[in-house]
């Protein structure tokens, strides 16, 4: 790999250990994937924030970076944590969890990271179309590449952090135009209605695609929320970093391998992901974190009703979006729902809240909570979720 004089000096440790180790991460990954150089990035988005998922090991490394004077050189944001400190029920979590979680967030902030604590940083500040970025958080990677048109590989937490400190990323994979072309054609013949259907489609596709990039035909009238759900789910069951879409019969490379998706494929996903038909303990909207429009929709669905005493409703988003949607938030909260910020059902300690069944409109959540927390789940459209949550 070719390094500039400046990059070499950093590699050799002249700027201190934090930058040296970050540069080594980027160079080793670049060598592994055949990159010839580093390219500047506009921003980095870092995963590995929730103490539930990263544990003590992350604290050791972050501390070492801070102690050696590491500071981010480009705009850098972080994923959700395990706690919303503004709610008493989160503050009632065990003391050591609260402290360690706080410590992780503080360490990132000491390096100059913007603690947006969201998996949808693009609602806070979207990257420019065509910009190279280094993003972790698989759902945001798919969204950036496919919907915004920013270019990123599917980074891990450590490599995104290294890119934040160096301000660069190795030039391989999705940073090169030839690797962004579709390699498989997907014809969706299934009937798609709600965002949950799109999530189910995403889970199905992720299993088939591996890391291939699909051109998807037949997503008539899918709105942004639906595409966000589909992308997040694809990245959950598979490694797909982006998708393309167009209409039936539109121009495409005739030599592409073709697959079709039928109604029964989605039915199978719903059956797999819905392991409970009992009353849920938690109704959860906001994986990936809600947009302004989704908060507004939840409030419209709740208007004039009350959340049942025996069910919790969490609507998860960033503090930024919560602030913008204040009026809708007030309506949701006065009906008994909670607009929770900086965390979500996947990265907090559900078991500590006595939650055994989760109902959600997110296929990604339905997939993960069963794996990570051993709780039961059911997948339904947002309107159905809110109906169940209300008296």
């Amino acid at each position: 790999m070719y390094l500039t004089k400046d990059e070499e000096r950093i590699y050799d440790g002249e700027m201190g250990w934090a930058y040296q180790v970050s540069m080594r991460i980027l160079v080793k990954l670049g060598e592994l994937y055949g990159a010839r150089r580093l390219i500047p990035v506009e921003s980095a988005h870092i995963s590995g924030v929730s103490y539930k998922t990263v544990g003590d090991a992350a604290i050791d490394f972050l501390k070492a970076l801070v102690e050696s004077g590491g500071k981010v050189r480009v705009k850098a944001t972080i994923n959700p944590s395990g706690v919303d400190y503004n709610y008493a029920f989160f503050r009632a979590l065990p003391e050591d969890l609260l402290e360690r979680q706080r410590e992780i967030i503080d360490l990132y902030e000491m390096m100059g990271v913007d603690a947006v604590l969201t998996c949808t940083p693009y609602y806070v500040e979207p990257p420019s179309c065509g910009a190279h970025v280094a993003w972790a958080e698989s759902s945001a990677v798919v969204y950036a590449n496919s919907i915004i048109g920013a270019w990123t590989n599917r980074e891990g937490g450590p490599s995104a952090l290294a890119s934040a400190l160096i301000g660069k990323t190795p030039d391989y994979g999705l940073h090169q135009p030839e690797n962004r072309q579709p390699t498989i054609l997907v014809r969706v013949e299934a009937n798609l209605g709600s965002e949950a259907d799109y999530g189910a489609l995403g889970i199905h596709l992720g299993k088939i695609l591996g890391d291939r990039i699909p051109l998807i035909q037949g997503l008539h009238g899918a709105n942004e929320t639906c595409l966000k759900q589909m992308g997040a789910a694809m990245a959950t069951s598979g490694m797909t970093p982006m998708f393309h879409m167009n209409e039936y019969g539109a121009e495409h490379n005739k030599s592409l391998e073709k697959i079709a998706v039928e109604d029964r494929d989605l039915v199978r996903v719903y059956e797999e992901l819905s392991t409970s038909d009992e009353k849920p303990d938690l109704v959860f909207i906001g994986c990936p974190h809600c947009s302004f429009d989704e908060i507004k929709l939840v409030s419209k669905l709740i208007e004039g009703r009350r959340i049942r005493e025996d069910i919790r409703l969490w609507v998860c988003t960033s503090r930024f979006i919560r602030g913008k949607a204040e009026d809708y938030v007030r309506l949701i909260e006065s009906a008994g729902g909670r607009v929770v910020c900086g965390t979500c059902a996947v990265v907090t300690w559900l078991k500590n809240f006595g939650i055994k069944t989760v109902m959600t409109n997110s296929a990604k959540t339905a997939y993960y909570v069963q794996l990570l927390d051993g709780v039961k789940a059911s997948l339904s459209p947002i309107s159905e979720c809110i109906n169940v949550a209300c008296e």
């Binding site: 180790v21 080594r24 991460i25 080793k28 990954l29 592994l32 995963s47 590995g48 998922t53 990263v54 544990g55 003590d56 090991a57 992350a58 050791d60 490394f61 070492a64 972790a136 980074e155 891990g156 937490g157 450590p158 490599s159």
Partner: protein
Amino acid sequence: MAEIILRGRPIVSGRARGVALVSSKPLSFLGGVDPKTGIIVERGHDLHGKSVRDVILCFPHGHGSTVGSFVLFSLAKNGLAPKAIVNLVADPVVVVGAVIANIPMIDGVDITKIRCGDILEVDGETGLVKVCREG
């Protein structure tokens, strides 16, 4: 004492000599290795209950969360890290872990030729692994 030389690709430089701990299964560091004890705790893993401390850890590749890299750093900080890592195929989680923990690493090695208990000499500059076996 029989000796064979296996040829791989250098990933992280450094030399080490130690006892081989070999698995045919991918290993997840996050949740799979306890950073406070160095013990492999991944459920159903054939090395379950074994310590990675001071061994030459040979396994096909990593799997699981990218944050697993941090576990290797903590192991090194706690004096519990393997002396070297030998993989069949390097994957980003293990590569980044070996880089930040400064553990010599080689990939592209046919680890089926290595048995638990063999004495290995790993050269992270040349990518060579010398296998020494009793008898």
